[in-house]
Amino acid sequence: MKIKVQTKSGEFEYDCEQGENLLYAGLRQGLTLPYECATGTCGTCRARVKEGKICLEWAEAPGLSYVNQEKNELLMCRSTAPGDCTLRVPAKVLEGVGSEAVPGYRADYYKGKIINFREHNHDVVSFDVALDAPMAFDAGQFAVLDSAEVTGGRAYSMVNYATSPDTLDFVIKRKPEGKFSDWLYENNVVGNEIGVFGPLGKATFHPEEKKNVLCMAGGSGIAGIMSIITRGCQDSHFADHRGYVFFGVRTAQDVFFLDDLSSFVEAYPETLEVTVALSDEDVLPELKNRYPLITFQTGFVHAVTSEQMTGKYDNILAYVAGPPPMVDGALRMLVLEARLPGTDIRYDKFG
């Protein structure tokens, strides 16, 4: 069927398959439709039905609190259309993602298989997804994973980076009553097929911008930061630019990826600094001794960052990833204290 969207930058039309959600259909055809989480939580992909009918696929979606259903508003990421329809999208939209005029990688559907499942600590696991075709993406982007055994997709950042990889790495923290993470933990998922839609997200890293890099991550938000630092190392970005990584967790039991982070610092000891902030306990000497290339501090990650970054904000791009309260605290610090302009702060909030 045909979906027509009236936006602040003109009218566009795209095809949508039976049962396909309205957002993904538009994104895979190169429209920059508005979204943030792409999974029904944030309400950013809000639109209003002008003509035709739509079907709501998840009546309890948290993002519905931002829509006025009495005025025929909907979330594009959680709606399908049984026939042609016209939507009003209150945003500027461009077409041609992937062209010179609208750079970036166009999202699409991939089929994958879970491989290489490993446990990092008591509530963090990682695994790889072997794709049926290579997926080019920018460091810092995410994808939506969709298992037939769990209702609805979940957004996770890629940990790895390569020019056009056929394997994506993900790290996932177990959430209380999290259906997807419960499925991962309670079943032998290796070999399971999984749907992938991506790449998505705006917190992208491009070495050609020639900026110093500040990365602030909370918990599994370190995933996209690992991708960014990996790309920075691959491209020798830190040979002539500085990198500051701040990784916040609650306790020493919650840390992971410290060997990988140490190896980054080992490659660029003069320019790359990694600090781990423990919010709920003091740092034990054993941890410092085990990871001498990493600095450990006690405190919330945005507070530790604020303290250590004073006077170091010259020519900097800041990346923030983590649970929404941590991202909110970090954004306030970067804008109100560090006085960074909004254009120099990149983040995605989909927790």
Binding site: T41, Y66, A91, G342
Partner: protein, 144 residues
């Protein structure tokens, strides 16, 4: 036109005398915004307090032109933009944007603070309510 009755039904001004409320209503100037417009963004100077007469707003933390995940809704009859009442750091601590066409009343910060300097009782009551609001925000963040 904003009325004393409108203001006395808000959290921030509910304890004020009719005289103080009439003075504040006299400061208020109506202003219309379209769906998608930002009223203000995180980090902007906080020069005004607002009363939402009609429409619907999203109150969240975001930068640039990013609409944002999480956050809360502001519905008609609410006062928002309380950073304008802070003397030493009048900068916005969040972003307010319109989910639909909205009409606001703009109450200038300087006029409000002048009023509170002259009417200590009104100033005390408003700051007491403001402290409760701020404490509530902290409690909601810490309970996440």
């Amino acid at each position: 036109m904003i009325t004393v009755k409108n203001l006395v039904n808000t959290d921030l001004f509910q304890d004020l005398s009719d005289q103080a409320l009439e003075t504040i209503a006299g400061f208020a100037v109506p202003q219309s915004f379209e769906e998608g417009d930002s009223i203000y963004q995180l980090g902007d100077d906080a020069n005004d307090l607002y009363y939402l007469e009609s429409g619907r707003l999203r109150f969240s933390i975001g930068v640039g032109n990013r609409p944002d995940s999480s956050g809360s809704l502001i519905l008609p009859g609410k006062i928002f933009g309380w950073a304008a009442l802070l003397r030493d750091q009048p900068r916005r601590v969040a972003t307010a944007s319109c989910l639909e066409d909205s009409t606001l009343y703009v109450i200038p910060r300087e006029k409000l603070l002048e009023l509170f300097d002259q009417d200590y009782a009104a100033g005390y009551q408003v700051m007491r309510r403001l402290a409760t609001t701020v404490a509530g925000d902290f409690v909601s963040v810490l309970s996440v």
